[in-house]
């Protein structure tokens, strides 16, 4: 049945795009897990990562770029948290969320003003002939991005579950007053959480640059799917973000292939709507305990 190979090809296309959505969602979930705020400027950080990757690759080898860019974007995100958002934190949650929306727009417009060009191209890391398995084409780029998403989420899970910093962030998320009594300073933990989220956004930008091109529009193109993937995963679970992204990618590509391309956008939002209505805690809810 020739349609099976086609179906598999669509699914693989969906996995490739889904892996990018997962990468974008993980950083969003990290920041939300520790600070209970959703960073609407996350898409702008991903775009910054892509631009930093484009300029970095002009002077540095891949290995250095994939190391330095996430750190640089992380520092920017941490700086924004301690500089702009810390004073806002005293205000109510409402204005913090809104300020991240306009922060994202400010970053995108700043980049559009400083670097006027239309779209920049970044050549993929793994170059070469794609593998053909039962005439289903598996390009190296798909594998590279899939691997990237897996390693990024592995790093995020390791840091969160094993490292002291991760424990501090989980403690702050679970009970801020109790965490402070254990010597974790709110400002330090929030700064680290935003640095870590920003670094993951930078990494997502690097992986998204070759397939999606480097342009200011990358910000919105990654923010909405990242949010939907995070909601599918349950917004507090890193594994959920990884799987949520893949699921979203596949569902989107299938609906575009078999229904109509306009449906792709609509399906993303229908999925989000359904998740919010029927499973707000997401498919992979973090272990929740009713505290006494």
């Amino acid at each position: 049945m020739i349609y099976l190979t086609e179906f598999l090809q669509v699914v693989i296309g969906g996995v490739k795009i889904g892996a990018i959505y997962s990468l974008a969602a993980i950083g969003l979930v990290v920041i939300h897990k520790a600070t209970k705020t959703v960073n609407f400027a996350h898409g702008a950080f991903i775009m910054l990562g892509a631009y930093a990757g484009y300029f970095g690759l002009k002077f540095l080898p891949y290995s250095l770029v994939y190391l330095l860019v996430p750190i640089a974007i992380g520092l920017i995100a941490g700086g924004i948290e301690s500089g702009v958002l810390r004073s806002l934190r005293r205000a109510d949650h409402f204005s913090v969320v809104i300020s991240t929306v306009f922060l994202g727009i400010a970053i995108v417009e700043l980049v559009r003003v400083v670097y006027e060009s239309e779209m920049l191209s970044v050549s993929p890391v793994l170059v070469g002939r794609p593998w053909i398995i039962a005439d289903v084409v598996l390009s190296r780029e798909t594998i590279w991005i899939g691997l990237g998403a897996l390693t990024a989420s592995a790093i995020a899970v390791y840091v969160f579950m094993r490292l002291a910093i991760g424990r501090g962030m989980r403690a702050m998320a679970s009970n801020p007053r109790g965490a402070q009594l254990c010597g974790y300073s709110v400002d330090w933990i929030y700064g680290i959480a935003w640095f870590f989220g920003g670094a993951l956004a930078g990494l997502a930008g690097l992986f998204a640059a070759p397939p999606m091109g480097v342009s200011p529009e990358l910000a919105l193109a990654t923010l909405v799917p990242a949010f939907v993937a995070a909601v599918i995963g349950g917004f507090d679970s890193l594994i959920g973000a990884l799987l949520g992204g893949i699921i979203l990618g596949i569902v989107e590509t299938l609906s575009a292939a078999y229904i109509s391309s306009a449906m792709k956008g609509a399906v993303t939002f229908m999925l989000l709507f359904a998740m919010l209505l029927f499973r707000p805690e997401g498919l992979f809810p973090e272990v929740k305990r009713r505290s006494a």
Partner: protein
Amino acid sequence: MLSRVLRVVAPSLAIVLISLVGLLCGTYVQYVICIALIAGITGASLVLLVGLGRVIMLATGAMGAIGAYTSTLFIEHFRFPYLLAIGVGGLFGAFGGFLLAIPAGRFRGHNLAMVTLVFQAIAVIGIRELPGTGGSEGMRVRPVQMFGHQFNADYEYLLLIGACTALLAFIISALQQGRFGNTLKAIAVTEIGSEAFGINIGLYRIVTFAITSGCLAAAGGLLAPRIRILDPETFGILASVNALAYPIVGGMTSVWGGLIGGGLLSILPEVLRPLAEYKALIFAVLVILVIGFFPGGILEMLARIVSIARRKPDLQPLPKFNSRTILVDSSTTQSLSGVSAPRHGPALEISDVSVSFGSLRAVDHVTLGVESGAIHGLIGPNGAGKTSLFNVISGFLPPDEGQVRFFGESHIPGAARTYVARGITRTFQHVAIYGPLSCLENVAIGLGHNDIIQSIRSSFVDPFRDPGGIRDRQSAAEALALVGLDGRRHTTASTLSLGDQRRLEIARAIVSRPRLLLLDEPMSGISLDEEQKLLALLQDLNARLGLTMFLIEHNIRFVLDICNRLSVMSAGQIIADGAPKDVIAQPGVRRIYFGERESALQ
């Protein structure tokens, strides 16, 4: 009366004034004023939903699109007159708001923002795919035809849009400054404090969504002829985000904030023409600065500069009350005590009620009776389960097992909203008054006449003829006089001292002539001398109105003075019940307060 009318009509007058002044300027400036007025109305309608309702609304563009496309299509295909088409567009928008509000009832914060963004995206995709809307290439809009005359010149459009926006401004201003707006402010400050006085929070949210979306759609309809081509891009997500900035920059608490924010921010690109490339950046940075340093927006800046004198007390001729006469003269108290004449039989029966949180059993098979007309106290150390039991009684916490009956009727658990109508009201440990509202407005809400239709109707009618308003305000003033806050009718509640705030809560709780008053730690944080005054007030109310009272309290001296029945609770169970003097003497009670050794020495 006059100053209330003026305050409600002022925004519309301002719009009419601007339009008239606009007639003198050049046609380009007139065009800019039209766009600014429409943006102002968009900001003003968002004040209701974003400012008062605290909803992060990202579907403003979609609502505008519904209004613009619906009105244009009705004019094209069904030959509707322009104003009627705008009205129909508004209705479609209101329906859109209604659809958006149903799921929005369950979400808060960023999830709610995402629900509105979902609506925005689906609406824009829907409009582009619908046949007859010209898709992404846009749809041409014919100039306005009214009374056989075709509008061409800018000044004609300026007058038309000026009149329509003035009307919309009046609607929004009346709602925002009237009973409806007050109720929204109350909900925003304290949801439990509103639920307890019969405010249906879910319904208010849905109606606010519908009204705001209806106005946004009408504004979209007004904009359509001025931009000649309708395309989905004009009403895209960027339009929603920019519109969200209008109430934030202008000031979220009043219709003026929306008008000023919308007007100025829509003129900004014209002023920034020389710096065109940077205008989006400047806009975003400006909003962040306002959120960071002027949370109150331009309004707060103006208020701080002009430091408007505190609101003058209202000079309405209300019948003069003297608190002494109220208590002595039976004729005036007649109207007060008519409803709650003391009847025999138990006012409150708690049978075998249990509640547990995870592994902790907070209330363990409690059975308790409160006689009608009594002042029944419940004491016990921290963590004894008093508050959990109180929340079960006041309908905020459904019990795991057991039954609560009021005056013989069985009680539907959890329906706190129905309590006011059934003559049961409460006060709160951490005073849950409506800070931004005046004392009179706080107590008026206590009356419980808070169903949605009534509050909308009185928002429009009160400033002019206000028949209902007089009776409500009269009984509210009576209640304020009863608790000794007669001179503070128009002071903002948040500026009162704690003692006065407690009095205000009591006034709010008694204005609806309840049969049973539940008091949650009325003395917490109260100074010694204030305690005596509140004690006297509560005793008076119980004696004069035959008002049964059930209270939980830590201050044992106060409990011994006021209560005629006392129960003691420890570790989820009632361990003593009866007259206060002998209950305190029981060894079991002294042990839980002073510990084992002490009773041995006794």
